[in-house]
């Protein structure tokens, strides 16, 4: 399986990532997830993304390995940006290529759920009023990750 993990400040390009996922052979099914900084009714200016250099790529790589052991996958790409990201900017990309539609959907969904709860990233919100504040972890993210435990 082709595995690509990137933690970077630069933006990413969906089309280029898609092409690399399909490189060599047509997998039949490619699922992509892109997460963007949501415009919270004009209140949010941007997000500051902190991470744990050294651990981050390892943690993402482990998550992809768990997915690979669980579903038949041809290629997986995970990109997570760090630093300051303005509203509407892309934060995260997960791309999965497989011969099987359901495997591609489930693996991409699983990787996002695990990334949200098991990769060392922290978000700080900068809004139009008040001091920047750290985003609290959501119980719903924890629950989403737990549904993959059999």
């Amino acid at each position: 399986m082709l595995k690509r993990i990137k933690v970077q400040t630069e933006d990413f390009d969906l089309e280029a990532e898609y092409r690399q996922l399909n490189d060599g052979h047509a997998s039949g099914a490619v699922v992509t997830f892109s997460g963007l900084v949501r415009d919270e009714e004009g209140q949010l200016l941007g997000l500051e993304l902190e991470h744990y250099p050294g651990m981050t790529e390892k943690a993402l790589s482990n998550i992809v390995d768990v997915a690979k052991a669980r579903w038949p996958l041809h290629a997986v790409t995970v990109i997570h940006r760090v630093g300051y990201l303005k509203v509407n900017e892309q934060i995260v990309f997960v791309g999965v290529a497989s011969a099987h539609r359901l495997a591609a959907f489930e693996a991409a969904n699983f990787i996002m759920d695990y990334l949200k709860t098991r990769a060392p990233f922290w978000k700080k919100e900068h809004s139009v009023h008040g001091e920047p504040s750290w985003v609290a972890a959501k119980a719903s993210d924890q629950q989403a990750a737990e549904r993959w435990q059999e």
């Binding site: 997460g35 993304l49 902190e50 991470h51 744990y52 050294g54 651990m55 390892k58 943690a59 997570h80 934060i91 995260v92 996002m112 990334l115 949200k116 709860t117 098991r118 990769a119 060392p120 990233f121 922290w122 978000k123 700080k124 750290w134 985003v135 609290a136 972890a137 993210d141």
Partner: protein, 82 residues
Amino acid sequence: MLTIKFFAVLRERLSSDRMQLPLEQPKSVSEVVEQLKQQSQLWHKELSRYDLLCAVNQEFADHSTVVKEGDELALFPPVTGG
């Protein structure tokens, strides 16, 4: 020496992103945290949060995990990436 790293709100509130702690013998993460709490009321408060997570040598760990000379311990709040 044990290297200890702090992230996110913890790093900010403690005004520290890393420190070195002499470690004469292996200790559990919770023993290390208890020791750190003695530094000041602020440290005691910040390190008492119920949802404090840790990683040892860049892998998620439990508070019962034992750290030894040369290890890297990281303490941080729940992650919020993605």
